[in-house]
């Protein structure tokens, strides 16, 4: 014990952890005593994220809303804590999965013309899987414990399922990419073919499950679009794969094949992004997050870029290669903006208390499940308030 510790006037010299437990008098044994404290307040403590908030509608908007009561316009839900790594992973993982699928298709088509595409697809799949793992580990609050994800096999957790899929996909796509990286015996190449087929099979859930991952949350806009999100993400992954090989100027029939694959997926993605709005619009307050703030801006940008890319694709056939490269770059940026837009919209949606209340009052909470099971929808409604949240005569006051 140094002098500062014994002098009560210099107590503040001890690093403050906000517990105010004097180690000479008390032991830290409580359930929360292991909680690490670096900063007591402010952004580092995760209590406020002002930089992101500045983009979106002010909280006053929630207070002034005529929709109904709330607790001072405060959010009911916690905002997703994920940083940029997660939407970036959605993009990279989708790209890797769809590349594995495209690569398997190219080797099915066979012939000399597709050999370049097959090789590049395997490289992108393996590289994407490795990058995905890095992004996911980086985003963890305790990166050293990333292997804890594989402690259990839990079908109720899309994140757990996704980790298993990504693990298998990483191993298989790595094995498939080996001959492209090192010169090996023929047997290695044969086994690489089998591994590539396997990685294509796992690549399919890898591009789609991220939509389920978002839908399996309490965030209103993600939960409300649970039927569209997985399909949208699947096709967005396909678009990004097609676009990457456009940009990379893959020669021959393989390049054309990748281009057609991406072009059809592009049409599907544009249609699905409309469907996303339609599914959310069942409750207008929920759809708002897709139109306003940062999420709305990114989603509009994504649609604009995809549309521009499709227009470039359909231009008359001159300067073919450069045109493909331009369209590929636009589409890649578009699919990237889509992932970031969907995540940003989810954040805004979690912050808006009325986006939580309104779907539930409209019978889209648990009441929806009861209806599906054939039972009478039963909304918990206190006396004096009907199930939609409107007051009846006897509300509040004494009879």
């Amino acid at each position: 014990m140094n002098e500062a510790g014994t002098d009560p006037t210099r107590e503040s010299a001890r690093p403050r952890d906000g517990r105010n437990v004097d180690p000479r008098l008390g032991e830290l044994l409580g359930e929360g005593s292991a909680q690490r404290v670096r900063a007591l307040d402010g952004p580092a403590a995760g209590r406020d994220r002002p930089a992101e908030r500045a983009w979106d509608e002010p909280p006053a908007d929630a207070l002034a809303a005529p929709e109904g009561p709330s607790y001072y316009g405060q959010p009911v839900l916690k905002e997703p804590v994920w940083r940029w790594e997660i939407p970036a992973y959605f993009f990279v993982g989708g790209l890797a999965g769809a590349s594995a699928v495209l690569g398997a298709a190219a080797s099915l088509a066979g012939g000399e013309g597709t050999a370049t595409l097959v090789r590049r697809c395997r490289l992108v799949a393996a590289g994407g899987a490795a990058a995905s793992a890095v992004l996911l580990v980086r985003d963890l609050g305790r990166p050293a414990r990333f292997l804890n994800m594989l402690r259990v096999f839990r079908p109720t957790s899309p994140m757990n399922m996704g980790t298993w899929v990504l693990t298998g996909f990483g191993a298989l796509s790595g094995a498939a990419a080996l001959p492209a990286l090192v010169a090996g015996p023929r047997a290695l190449e044969r086994s690489a073919g089998v591994a590539a087929a396997g990685s294509a099979v796992l690549g399919l859930p890898l591009v789609g499950y991220t939509g389920v991952l978002l839908a399996n949350t309490a965030v209103p806009v993600w939960q409300a679009t649970r039927n569209t999100l997985p399909v949208l993400f699947a096709f967005s992954g396909a678009v990004s794969a097609g676009a990457l090989f456009d940009l990379w100027r893959t020669p021959g029939p393989g390049g054309e094949m990748a281009h057609r694959f991406g072009l059809v997926a592009k049409g599907a993605e544009l249609a699905l992004s409309r469907a996303l709005h339609r599914e959310a619009a069942a409750v207008p307050r929920v759809e708002r997050a897709l139109r306003r703030g940062r999420g709305g801006f990114l989603l509009r940008t994504a649609r604009g870029l995809l549309l521009a890319s499709a227009v470039v694709d359909l231009l008359p056939e001159r300067t073919w290669r450069r045109r493909h490269a331009a369209s590929g770059a636009l589409a890649l940026l578009g699919t990237l903006a889509l992932r970031f837009g969907v995540v940003a919209a989810g954040r805004a949606s979690a912050r808006d208390p009325h986006a939580t209340f309104e779907p539930q009052r409209a019978g889209r909470g648990a009441a929806e499940l009861a209806r599906k099971e054939g039972a009478r929808p039963r909304m918990p409604s206190p006396p004096g308030i009907d199930p939609t949240g409107k007051e009846t005569a006897e509300h509040g006051a004494a009879p």
Binding site: G32, S33, L77, L102, G141, N216, R378, G389
Partner: protein
């Protein structure tokens, strides 16, 4: 082991925050930095990684029987508090009775705007906590198995297993679980697992001076809560109802192990009116994914055919 839980009777809460302090102190949680929210008397704000009890202060522009200012009593005479008059007693026992000046009651003075507003005003206070849902969204979403159900029926996050993926934060329909950024892990109320093991009552319930927070076997609590609602309704608090006391009243969570007695819509307290565990709806989403990726496979096969023809 018997299932234990909380019954929080908000009509008894006086907003003293003894529960918040007791929780912080017992669990040795860091303080919140002593900042003011600037939005209300509530300077805690919300439940969080280091705040496992949170007292909400609701200011309502609606009267509530049993709450009022002495001025109301002067205006309305003893009738203002008639509903709460103890049985067998002729008049209210509050300070009202002592001050009731008859000359004022005869000639009521005109009320100013703020006095008029005060007459149509009431406080609602609620000590919020993790609900320890019968079907818990956080538990089902946790990819590491760090969240488990204890022998007391509570939902517990093991800090030595949690890897801070943040999925439970988004999966909780009540916004309870939070990740502390400088710690990296998710935290929430443990129902004082260490105290329960030692046969003690959770710190917040122990510290509550008005028995607003009641702890005990769930069956007993439910019984007690129903009796209390009847009592309040007979005294004129028409809006009194239980929030999440059973699977029937809250099918989305199959009932809460920490349920509440509220006097207004749940939204007023910042609680979702019909919360649902996200996993309950997820089968449709998996099905949509299957459709999506199969059509993607079909698209790939189409590309194969087009390449062969070319």
């Amino acid at each position: 082991m018997q299932e234990m839980g909380f019954f929080t009777d908000t009509t008894l809460c006086i907003g003293c925050k003894a529960c918040e302090v007791a929780c912080k102190q017992w669990n040795q949680l860091p303080d919140d930095g002593f900042s003011l929210t600037g939005m209300s008397y509530d300077n805690t704000g919300a439940l969080g990684a280091s705040t496992w009890r949170h007292v909400a202060f609701v200011e309502r522009t609606e009267p509530l029987p049993g709450q009022g200012s002495p001025r109301d009593g002067i205006e309305a005479g003893a009738g203002a508090f008639a509903e709460l008059r103890p049985l067998g007693q002729p008049a209210p026992t509050s300070l009202l009775h002592d001050v009731a000046p008859t000359h004022l009651a005869d000639v009521p003075a005109a009320l100013g705007p703020s006095q008029q507003a005060l007459g149509k005003f009431s406080w609602l206070m609620m000590s919020d906590v993790c609900k320890h849902c019968e079907r818990a969204g956080c538990l089902e979403a946790c990819p590491t198995g760090a969240i488990l159900r204890t022998e007391f029926g509570s939902v517990y996050i093991q800090p030595d297993v949690c890897n801070g993926c943040g999925y439970c934060v988004s999966a909780c329909p009540f916004g309870v679980v939070d990740r502390r950024e400088d710690d990296g892990r998710a935290w929430k109320c443990t129902l004082c697992y260490d105290r329960l093991e030692g046969g003690m009552v959770p710190a917040c319930a122990k510290a509550c001076p008005t028995a607003s927070i009641q702890f005990g076997p769930l069956e007993d609590l439910r019984e007690r809560a129903r009796t209390r609602v009847e009592q309040l309704r007979s005294r004129g608090v028409g809006g009194a109802h239980l929030y999440g006391e059973s699977a029937q009243s809250q099918p989305g969570t199959e009932g809460l192990h920490a349920f509440f007695l509220l006097c207004d819509r749940p939204e007023v307290y910042g609680l979702p009116p019909d919360p649902v565990v996200p996993t309950a709806k997820i089968v449709a989403s998996w099905r949509a994914m299957a459709t999506g990726v199969l059509s993607l496979a079909a698209l790939a096969l189409g590309a194969v055919l087009s390449a062969r023809r070319a």
